[in-house]
């Protein structure tokens, strides 16, 4: 009985601490939502209320109707989806070669690819900018997508190689005897069996591309090509005190991220735990 009581007390303590932690995590988000629902006149109200006195959707209507917001959302969507699909394809091709094919220099090339995980990405921005300028890729979707794929390639190839190596080879050997090509084995056997791994790659790259700021900030100078992070940053610097609208736009930008994460969180957490530790 004493032991049970002790366990009960420790449970209560654990839950209390966890919920306090959640408070610290959630309050800024909550404050953002509340601010986005306040009329402009109450943005700097004193005391600042964590529960809005009057709720208005004016900020949403103003922010979403203004400044080509729909276009920015579309830009972000196009860039994030193209990045995700191409990264899945290209990194799984690489991973298959490293996991299954025999060729001279395999280890060397693999380790060269791992270099990509160690280089601070921002140091590459200057030469990437110059090269993209020469190739005419500035202010294009392609210019964003190609760099985003490259920045994700090392990590995702590494992750998928591990995944492919865990797939038993029996099926492939049978297929080889039946005369199947390596391409067919890759496309018909290995890829379908790797869906959980591909899901991890998809979530990581989607969130990366959706949130990315430093590269888009230098590669995009035309207003119509902005992605959401750039658009929101510019919006704030141009409308310094209109925080309600800034946060209304931010919340709309945040919705796809939260949706993707909520749906796939199981894969996601597993992906972080495994790649994080190995990477």
């Amino acid at each position: 009985m004493g032991l049970k009581k002790q366990q009960f007390v420790s449970k209560v303590i654990i839950y209390t601490l966890l919920i306090m932690g959640i408070g610290i995590v959630i309050i800024p988000f909550w404050y953002m939502v509340v601010t986005s629902l306040k009329p402009q006149s109450l943005i700097f109200e004193m005391p600042p209320r964590l529960w809005p006195q009057e709720i208005t959707l004016k900020n949403y209507i103003a922010a979403l109707g203004k400044d080509l917001f729909g276009l920015y959302f579309l830009n972000s969507l196009i860039v994030a989806i193209s990045t995700t699909l191409s990264t899945i394809l290209i990194s799984s091709l690489l991973a298959f070669a490293f996991a299954r094919l025999r060729f001279p220099g395999r280890e060397t090339i693999f380790y060269l690819f791992l270099l990509g995980m160690m280089i601070p990405p921002v140091m590459l921005i200057i030469p990437q900018f110059i090269i993209s300028k020469q190739l005419g890729l500035l202010n294009t979707y392609l210019g964003l997508v190609l760099v985003y794929i490259t920045m994700n390639l090392s990590m995702q190839t590494f992750l998928l190689r591990g995944f492919f190596e865990g797939i038993p080879r029996d099926l492939e050997e049978a297929a080889l005897i039946d005369g199947a090509s390596q391409w067919k084995i890759f496309w018909r056997i290995v890829l379908p069996l790797s869906r959980p791994g591909l899901a991890v790659v998809a979530i990581f790259t989607f969130l990366y591309a959706w949130d990315e700021f430093p590269w888009a900030n230098v590669a995009i100078t035309e207003t119509t090509r902005r992605t959401l992070p750039i658009a929101i940053a510019f919006f704030q610097s141009e409308h310094l005190t209109e925080w309600g609208q800034v946060f209304a736009a931010s919340i709309v930008a945040l919705i796809p991220v939260v949706l993707v994460f909520a749906i796939f969180q199981r894969y996601f957490i597993r992906g972080i735990a495994t790649t994080g530790l190995k990477g």
């Binding site: 610290i24 601010t35 060729f103």
Partner: protein
């Protein structure tokens, strides 16, 4: 014999086709740029007409080291790492230990703690800027009116030291979720029978934590120290948005906000490249030293 080598050749050819798209991208946008950037750092680079660029040797590097704004940026960046890395690790471990208990709704707690991690740096930076605003910010209100800690509002962003309070807190707040997930994976890899054996020997919770958990988490800890430090030294977006990169008086720069300003505002590409190479070498040396030191401790 010849059929075998023919098969090898076909397989090498197939492999080449599988590697091709990735290799092209990797060379064009990563390996090439790395080398290119090194070259640029020795020039007074002319972005309009690169062929007119003037070779200046180590002048860009010398300029950086002799510039007080750059030295200040180095100190700011190091201070950010020294504060946010232990901050994320201590709180992250604490959250991971809590999540590792037999509790209901673990998935729910994980999702909430992870929310800041998946939110774009742009959004959370603006959010912290707003919460720390001088006249009517939420933080000033809580400190002044709720807890009565400060007599009057603090102008956080107008002070070259206090401006780092929101930046550093943001760094910790945003990173704890990831750190906790990594620690949690490390905790769950510790064999349970070790704890049971210790209990038989009469060890209490604290003894178990100090003598089993902490030593067995060593690989995870080394990994986190290195990765979080690299991340901290590369911090950039929060500073750029919260201090406009350097306000007030260029005293609050990080190394990368300075690089950004030199390159994309003053179009001084050579100087910017030198700064990013200094940072890269810096990151590399610190990582190697950390790995050496922390590994050695394991062997002792």
């Amino acid at each position: 014999m010849s059929t075998i080598s023919k098969r090898n050749l076909t397989q090498a050819l197939t492999a080449f086709l599988f590697l091709l798209p990735g290799l092209v991208l990797f060379i064009t946008f990563l390996l090439g740029p790395m080398i290119y950037s090194f070259r640029i750092s020795f020039y007074d680079w002319n972005i309009v007409k690169p062929e007119n660029s003037e070779w200046v040797g180590l002048a860009n590097y010398a300029r950086a080291f002799s510039n007080p704004i750059f030295r200040r940026a180095v100190i700011n960046t190091l201070a950010y790492a020294i504060i946010t890395v232990p901050g994320q690790m201590i709180i992250g471990l604490y959250v991971a230990v809590l999540l590792d208990q037999k509790i209901r709704g673990r998935a729910f707690f994980r999702v909430i703690y992870y929310l800041p991690v998946i939110t774009s740096w742009v959004i959370v930076s603006l959010l912290f800027e707003y919460m720390f605003s001088g006249q009517a910010g939420l933080v000033n209100y809580i400190l002044r009116d709720v807890f009565n800690i400060i007599p009057k509002n603090i102008l956080w962003l107008a002070d070259p030291i206090l401006a780092f309070v929101p930046i550093d807190l943001l760094g910790i707040w945003k990173g704890v979720g990831w750190t906790a997930i990594i620690f949690l994976a490390g905790l769950q890899a510790i064999p349970k029978h070790l704890y049971e054996a210790a209990e038989v020997d009469g060890a209490d919770g604290i003894a178990k934590f100090l003598h089993i958990t902490i030593p067995l988490l060593r690989p995870t800890t080394v990994f986190l120290v290195v990765v979080l430090t690299i991340g901290a030294l590369n911090a950039y977006i929060s500073n750029l948005l919260i201090t406009n990169g350097g306000d007030p008086l260029d005293l609050t720069h990080f190394i990368l906000t300075l690089m950004y300003e030199a390159t994309f505002k003053r179009l001084d590409f050579g100087y910017g490249s030198a700064i990013s190479y200094i940072l890269t070498v810096f990151v590399f040396v610190i990582s190697v030293v950390q790995i050496r030191l922390l590994r050695q401790q394991v062997e002792i």
